[in-house]
Symmetry: C4
Subunit: 225 residues, 4 copies
Amino acid sequence: MQRLSGFSVSRARDVKNALLFNSFHTQHTFSTAAAESTQESSVGRKFASYTIFKGKAALQAYPVLPKFCTTSSGFSRMEKNGVVMLVFWPAIGTRKYDWEKKQYFALSPTEVGSLVSLGPSDSCEFFHDPSMKSSAEGQIKKSLTIAPANGQSGYFANLSVMNNLTKTNERLTVAITKAEFAVLRTACSYVLPHIMGWDQVIGQEKQTQPKPVVDRPHPEFEWSR
Amino acid sequence: MQRLSGFSVSRARDVKNALLFNSFHTQHTFSTAAAESTQESSVGRKFASYTIFKGKAALQAYPVLPKFCTTSSGFSRMEKNGVVMLVFWPAIGTRKYDWEKKQYFALSPTEVGSLVSLGPSDSCEFFHDPSMKSSAEGQIKKSLTIAPANGQSGYFANLSVMNNLTKTNERLTVAITKAEFAVLRTACSYVLPHIMGWDQVIGQEKQTQPKPVVDRPHPEFEWSR
Amino acid sequence: MQRLSGFSVSRARDVKNALLFNSFHTQHTFSTAAAESTQESSVGRKFASYTIFKGKAALQAYPVLPKFCTTSSGFSRMEKNGVVMLVFWPAIGTRKYDWEKKQYFALSPTEVGSLVSLGPSDSCEFFHDPSMKSSAEGQIKKSLTIAPANGQSGYFANLSVMNNLTKTNERLTVAITKAEFAVLRTACSYVLPHIMGWDQVIGQEKQTQPKPVVDRPHPEFEWSR
Amino acid sequence: MQRLSGFSVSRARDVKNALLFNSFHTQHTFSTAAAESTQESSVGRKFASYTIFKGKAALQAYPVLPKFCTTSSGFSRMEKNGVVMLVFWPAIGTRKYDWEKKQYFALSPTEVGSLVSLGPSDSCEFFHDPSMKSSAEGQIKKSLTIAPANGQSGYFANLSVMNNLTKTNERLTVAITKAEFAVLRTACSYVLPHIMGWDQVIGQEKQTQPKPVVDRPHPEFEWSR
């Protein structure tokens, strides 16, 4: 639907096919991680993202919700924050993109906070180590920089992936217009309380309120200390 | 409910009748596109919009949600973005409007982003070609300009429709006060994540979480590359 | 919970009793309008408001949702906008308020837009005629002014009710701190799409989407003209 | 998930265990207040928070919803505002925190309004007396100050608890980066209408609307006075 960026029909179809392929590929990758349960649980699941196609690369963003676990006491607590997943992949010709070379960068709630509070002349930089919890720590380094474009007309998002094993350093840059950044800012502000799990705390409380029991953390609880 | 703009009773009634008629007309048009299924599915459906009546024309805005399709694998993905639909129609006398001459302009998510990030002295312009995907491409050109009014008291929304076949050029202009623009900005910011489909990604995830399977795109998934 | 404004216990209790009484009184008034059906339908209904108690008067705000009507075709359309209802009532002694002298002022969506976009040194004024649609038009005039306090530390909300029949002119003024105004602004921004009915358009669309019929207003509909 | 602050694995685990313990402790405390009903009602309940770990102390925030009570007439009204609960607890070594020494500070809606409207060079201060409604009034004084850090790079949150009985004065200070404050601001803005109960007013109205009775507070109700 990138009418602004002037896609022609055939081009849009290429992109669409690419995305369709992506989607299956992505689904497959999830399957790898989730074993046989995915096939079943994907029935009825929904995917939606926001994608920006530019001359040298494309950028896609979508929300990933937090994960709750049920304790032995029967209540559930957030085990892992959600994220806003960013995917970059390079152009390999005029209006052709190579999804196979995609690179992921998962924004934590605090990184999303940094993004949504970015002033027109501010920039921010995040560093991730995908192997942080393994023996391979430090071998791959990712950094994402978001810096203002000239004349405050938007931003440049620059993802750099340095791989010490393959001695490669991939750089993917996507220009984000002011309007596109407003979409990201608005969507990320909307989604932030959801990746923090606060909407689920709120949703479930309401269901228990019709019950006449006093079982919630009492505001005056503060006073008891 | 445009008390601010001082409608009298009779006038408001004219408008109401016009809108009632519109609604049936609109419904009918949808039927044309959707065949016999509409009659049935319209039961229980809801319509709401925000309308600004001014001296020379009226402007109506309402959200249209994205469309998801179900894949053969059983999950569903957004097939088409939602939009914020703008409808302009001209005044044909004091407080009388001709709905038959209405013109549509569907704002994509990025165009909505442009609208909600508009500073008090900013302006924006969008170009649409309704025949873009057909042999008639270029014969009708629509452009929407939103530009600040004098003294930053609001904006002018100007829709121009140039038709090379009928050699006509219709222009419809509606002054939007600062308060009315705040309504549009707030409502469009609210609706943006919904026309992007992000609320549906979020809503359905929550339902699958009570299940003890690990079937979601894992934040650490980023690390696996 | 107005800890900031320093209520003592007994005072808070007075206020609570007053509000309890109010609530029943209000409920009763609604009954008058809604006949016997209210008694039944109030079961399970919920009331919540935000109230500011100040030296000379109190101000309460709460949302009132729009009203949809079902057409003969089976779909429903918004018949009447929702509002943010403001209620002012005077103090009649130290920390005592006379709810019987309450005055209502219902903010339309556009007036809410004016409120939420108010800059720190802006002011706004709204005029309502409660008898606008009757022979008594012009006999009672209400005006609400919201103007910045000295030093941009907040606003004064001033309600004036001029009654030509009783030759009275009541004025009720409540100082709103910057923090209290932030609550009103945030809550009103939140509630605006709801009093416009947009959340209901969005909510119901999602339910119809699992159906494999193409029955929604198509974004490309714009192109068909 | 505090990648930004550079936690190593073992450290993160310490924190996690601490939080797990916290959670049970917290749960237990709730049980004390809520007697036997909690055990049952906690099944299916959800907990989520946002936590900032810094060198000298940690700060956790989570929403607590308002409490509604059912009146004899069958409708329910908000009896007690929700809050945003802040919990501070001290570090007791490098990356070790003592949850046993936690201090609570419950932000009312107006205090949340103060927080979300804080400009980059503004500060605010709140005073709470946990014994305000008892004979022990004045013996414990809590104050929370949020003041800008040098160079507008964020804020310092400073909680002071003065206990006249034990002659102690505990001070807990947490530096909040600009990004972390954006998370708090966004999450608190999101949650504000919910702790005010406005979302519940809105949610329940929608359910009663399909009924063809006119039983809602009418906007024109204002005119009737």
